[in-house]
Amino acid sequence: MKDLQRLRTSLKEEVELALNAQVKMEAEASSKYLAMASWCEVNGYLYSAKYFFKQAEEEREHMLKIFHYLADQGVMAYAPEVGPVPHDYPSFRSIFEAALQSEINVTHSINRLVTLCRRVEDYATENFLQWFVKEQVEEEINARRALELFDVIGEEGTGRFQIDRHVYKITQLDVE
């Protein structure tokens, strides 16, 4: 008797479902960043807006990366439903706090996925996920650096204007 399941895919159902949940999480992250970009743009923080637009695009790329992996492994990737995301932020700073928290949540989620892969001995998927493990280190560094600017520069006087200008430079290698 043939093993129809294994002939179709190497993924265990629980890994497949967890990866699809991660697809959704990346889509939500993208949508959250888009809302942050919108808030920044409309409130005069144009560089930060640019920074968040770029983040939103990156999150979508993360989503697609998992999407294609699922398809490559022979299973269905589901286009995620994304619910409403917050658009009201009490302050410029609070946006960056929310961004950091969101990245931390994603890191936890990726870690749990890796743990699952080890438990079911899916070393191929674990290997695939290592890219995300590394990426999350980068993402958290950037989010923390943005918050750090509020302390380093200070919000008084033209502080927020300066912070805004420096936020966009975070992702560029030439940190002045």
Partner: protein
């Protein structure tokens, strides 16, 4: 089920049974009057669709629309019109079938790896 080299029974309940056809790589569902052949992936998505039906709504919503649930079988141009009772029985059959498929896969990994 007749003895066959290519047809293997996967699971059987009072209301129906499922088989695996090794010639066509299909999972064949016999439920009530209907016979539907699925590819593995389609079987999985069909099972999920059946599992997603909200039985609670069917029980408590008195509207006629909630007496039946129509479920499309993937790529087969067939649909199943299911009552609450059918749904419970179909779920049972499908989850038993999935269990048989999982078990077979585990056995392959554990026993047959070196057989080919």
């Amino acid at each position: 089920m007749k003895d066959s080299f290519t047809l293997h029974e996967l699971y059987r309940t009072a209301k129906g049974f499922t088989q695996q056809c090794d010639l066509t790589n299909r999972i064949i569902l016999n439920f009530g009057e209907q016979v539907i052949a699925f590819r593995y992936l389609d079987f999985v998505s069909f099972r999920r669709k059946v599992d997603r039906v909200n039985l609670h709504d069917m029980i408590f919503n008195l509207d006629d629309a909630y007496d039946f649930e129509v479920i499309e079988a993937p790529k087969s141009n067939q649909q199943l019109v299911l009552t609450l009772c059918d749904l419970v029985q179909l779920r049972d059959l499908l989850s038993g079938t999935q269990f048989a498929l999982d078990l077979n896969s585990m056995l392959h990994e554990a026993l047959y790896t070196y057989a080919y």
